[in-house]
């Protein structure tokens, strides 16, 4: 399995900076990684993988083709559990993390059940990255159609573009249903038991499930994965009514488009919604607790992003302030937002707006899990885990057979990170020592243009270089020199590489520009596989493509080591 190879190659890593769980819990803090945005939709990959496993496994002698046969065959592959247990693996929570773990577990021959109290797909599919991508697809097109200057430069003429709010909302909702049923079907097809209800751990290898407060059915499992995810975090003092003061959960339904909306928090969620709302005609006011917008991003990228995504749009912002109190609109009064200085706590200002979106990060959803039954105390709601995602109890000892992945452990609150952690856990319990390299997990923000990143930011890299005593360098290329970007008339953007000139190791890559979210994987794969700049710079890119931005980036890096022999060796053809 290529995936597991790459994962096991990766270095152990402390969950520093990028995955600091305090971030999401701190009121109005930096919301670096919210699971909301990032969905590794693994359906295609996994269906292929399941077929592969059969080919390599014992049931089907045929390579992947006839689907219905395969499904049946696959269903049988969720075979018999270890003696004495109902299941080899019980996963609590059928979000993207639980789903990824379940599919990989079946592939590993484990009898698997997944417990879901709500709907399959979790935050990502139902209230997060999936529906938001539908809205962003609309906003991207609206933006193009409204940009007269841009259209004119391309020679296009479009008369007054408009949109129908309900149809846009339906598009988002339909997409979520479709992905949800895909997810459900992929698990059913493999024979994963989907147990309906809220799961509670009653002992190290025992889980009860059923209606809230009445977990009446008990199952035993050799191993348990907690994958209960997160919910929008709403700081104290903010009254959410779901109509004029709301979180991303409500905003994604797009029940109305306010004339003026305040977005509390300028992380990924806030930034993406500002893109949607401004494209649909709203004016936006950002409220950010830190001194600058987009605090989680590489500073240089954040600065350019402000020039491209904030300044030219109908957006203003208040930084260094907390929203102490937010009152929903009622009795013909607007939404009131009381701002206080983040440091001195003194009243700063009051905003009167039509709506407020609370995008202050996400809080783990771990209540009612029965963690007390296994002597586990959460840290600000997060379940403490070691580098194998194994749960640690109140005394710092590992709890046998219990793992926690995704937003619930807070290491890196991204859907695809949860899934990767799930796969890592399944590898671990299947006897393959596995530690996931979180620094190789890419992240993206789907604004127009997009922002993506992997690895360290420049300040993080500088800190590390000073501590560990090595030199770092930064290389940059612009989208303005890229033929494809210019053909699209979308030359705004920057790609930035932070690397070690002594070894050629890639420490971080940050991209802001057209399709940045799709471009980042060349860099994240290189980090995951340990590919060095001196080698990857010889890889050929099709011309003209946006990928040449990265090609140029690698070529412009100045590395003090030669090419690896494997790359320079001639290959017979």
């Amino acid at each position: 399995m290529p995936a597991s190879v790459s994962l096991s190659l990766s270095l152990p890593l402390s969950p520093t900076a990028r995955s600091d769980p305090s971030v999401a819990a701190s009121p109005f803090g930096a919301f670096r990684r919210s699971g909301l945005r990032f969905c590794g939709l693994r359906r295609e990959v996994l269906s292929l993988r399941s077929l592969n496993s059969e080919a390599s496994g014992r049931i089907s002698p045929y390579p992947a083709r006839g689907l219905s046969n395969k499904v049946l065959a696959a269903a049988k592959s969720n075979g018999s559990p270890t003696k004495g247990f109902d299941y080899d693996l019980v996963i609590i929570g059928a979000g993207v993390g639980g789903h990824g773990a379940a599919l990989h577990a079946v592939e590993k021959g484990l009898k698997t059940a997944i417990i879901e109290g709500d709907i399959v797909g979790g935050t990502c599919v139902n209230r997060g990255c999936v529906p938001s991508k539908a809205l962003l697809a609309v906003s991207g097109r609206m933006r193009e159609l409204q940009d007269e200057h841009h259209l004119k430069a391309l020679g296009l003429q479009v008369a007054s573009p408009g949109y129908d709010r309900q149809s846009v909302a339906d598009h988002a909702n339909n997409l979520a249903s479709k992905i949800r049923s895909n997810l459900t079907n992929s698990m059913k097809a493999l024979g994963v038991d989907i147990l309906t209800g809220v799961g509670t751990i009653v002992g190290t290898q025992r889980v009860k499930y059923g209606k809230v407060g009445f977990p009446d059915t008990e199952v035993t499992a050799r191993n348990i994965i907690i994958a209960t995810g997160s919910v929008p975090f709403v700081p104290n003092g903010i009254e959410v009514d779901g109509k004029t003061v709301f979180t991303s959960d409500h905003a994604l339904k797009l029940e109305w488009v306010p004339d003026w909306i305040a977005i509390v928090g300028s992380g990924y969620i806030g930034l993406e919604f500002s893109d949607v709302y401004t494209a649909l005609g709203s004016e936006v006011t950002f409220v950010e607790a830190l001194d600058q917008l987009m605090p989680g991003f590489d500073p240089e990228i954040a600065k350019l992003a402000q020039r491209i995504l904030i300044n030219p749009r109908k957006i203003d912002h208040h930084t260094g302030v907390f929203a102490k109190k937010i009152t929903p609109a009622k009795d013909r009064k607007p939404v009131l937002i009381e701002l206080i200085d983040a440091k001195t706590k003194e009243p700063k200002d009051t905003l009167e707006v039509d709506a407020a979106l609370i995008a202050t990060g996400r809080a783990p959803f771990t209540k009612g899990l029965g963690l007390e039954n296994i002597n586990v105390t959460t840290v600000r709601g997060f379940v403490p885990v070691d580098e194998h995602m194994q749960v640690m109890d109140a005394d710092g000892n590992l709890v046998p057979h219990i793992y926690c992945i995704g937003d619930a452990n807070g290491k890196l609150m991204l859907a695809h990170a949860a899934s990767a952690q799930g796969i890592s856990v399944v590898e671990q319990i299947s006897g393959n020592n596995n530690v996931l390299n979180h620094l190789s997990i890419p992240a993206a923000c789907f604004t127009h243009p997009e922002i993506s990143m992997v690895g360290l930011t420049e300040p993080q890299a500088r800190e590390k270089s000073e501590k560990d005593g090595f030199e770092i360098r930064v290389a940059k290329t612009s989208f303005k020199a890229n033929t494809k970007a210019l053909a699209e008339n979308e030359g705004e953007g920057l790609a930035k590489l932070i690397y070690r000139p002594d070894t050629g190791e890639i420490l971080g890559v940050h991209i802001l520009g057209l399709h940045a979210a799709d471009l980042i994987h060349e860099a994240s794969n290189a980090i995951a596989l340990g590919t060095r700049i001196q080698d990857i710079r010889f890889a050929v890119h099709a011309h003209p493509t946006l990928s040449e931005v990265l090609d140029e980036l690698f070529k412009s890096a100045k590395v003090n080591v030669g090419t690896s022999p494997s790359v320079s060796e001639p290959v017979a053809v």
Binding site: W260, E283, D316, H317, T319, P334, D341, S478, K480, H543
Partner: protein, 472 residues
Amino acid sequence: MAALLHLRLNSSLLPSSSSHPSLRRRPCRRPVAPSTRISAKIREIFMPALSSTMTEGKIVSWVKSEGDRLAKGESVVVVESDKADMDVETFYDGYLAAIMVEEGGVAPVGSAIALLAESEDEIPLAKSQASSSSSAVAASPPPADAPASTTSVQTLAPSPPEPSPVAASSSTHPASDGGRIVATPYAKKLAKDLKVDLAGVAGTGPMGRIVAKDVEAAAAAAVASVPSVPSKAVVGSVSAKAPTPLAIELGTVVSFTTMQGAVSKNMVESLSVPTFRVGYTITTNALDDLYKKIKSKGVTMTALLAKATAIALTKHPVVNSSCRDGKSFTYNSSINIAVAVAIDGGLITPVLQDADKVDIYSLSRKWKELVDKARAKQLQPHEYSTGTFTLSNLGMFGVDRFDAILPPGTGAIMAVGASQPTVVAAKDGRIGLKSQMQVNVTADHRVIYGADLAAFLQTLAKIIEEPSDLTL
């Protein structure tokens, strides 16, 4: 790989292009605009124009500090423009005598940001000059920018407002001080661009907030009042109820506003309609008498004319029809009289709906409401786009006759001239004085024929000459 080579070459040249939004700290060394204002041997360092669209620049950091020796071509300061951060270098040798705009401060292009002394001896002189000129700048027209050294645009951290003249002259961010002003983000942006002080703008948005169009209106009003500033003591209030003629700068090309663009589009569209015109002279003595009687009840002449027209139209539905597709008559179910109104910088046609059914007093009230809304640019689409017949009246300006262009989508428009005392010969040979006005209807000949208009005008004349029906 010629292509690749080309690309790489290209990129290495990039930073020199001025419009390139590179974030590199030192991609482009721009010389400081050569100083011409030389007093003694102290030169001013100006905020340079780093791009064609740049109007102001923010000081990111001073590379040199006060008292440092500078060599020609050395970087002095890093400036952030609307596009990029760039190093600014000096053209002259000398000493950086005084920094006039601190880091984080914003200055308009062309304003002095520092002083350069030729020798060390001149540093104190330069310093005193800096302090005096900065206070001078504070009092001069662009107030918000020059003293912005302390009040950056972004309401940075708690920077205490300077006690000196700055506080008085710069109204900075209204949000940060006591007198709260509620303005939307775009309104604020526009106010900054158009240099409009939000404190003087009346908000017409929801809950009285200032929205973009209020700022635009205030800016237009301000432009109108600027020429009078030096001579007249009282400058017209910013709210500008009455349309003021805009001060037009000769020799410039000014783009259409949205409204003007719409008018232009409609006018061109009207060329595809085959129109013809029929005129009529109507005696208005009786109407004038009626008007005098009910004027005190708030009835306006416009409402009377609209009412008369609407009643006439009830008898001639074809004149209230239109031709949508070139193949058919569209007989409108209601009689909606649109009346053309000039508002600053444009023209709009508020609509009196069902003018035939609504009584004259309600119609007059409705008209007043519509005009107020039109001036505040708050008309809803249904209030200006649903007309079935249009009236255009230039009588109040003394125009005795004119001819109107048919608005697309309607069948006819009537141009109304002034009612004037006219010497009239009656059929019996007597000569008398009567008030008469000329009306001229432009109509779409595909649906409305000459005889239709003639009959309609006859009816209208009869109604106006015996106007008792109007008050029913």
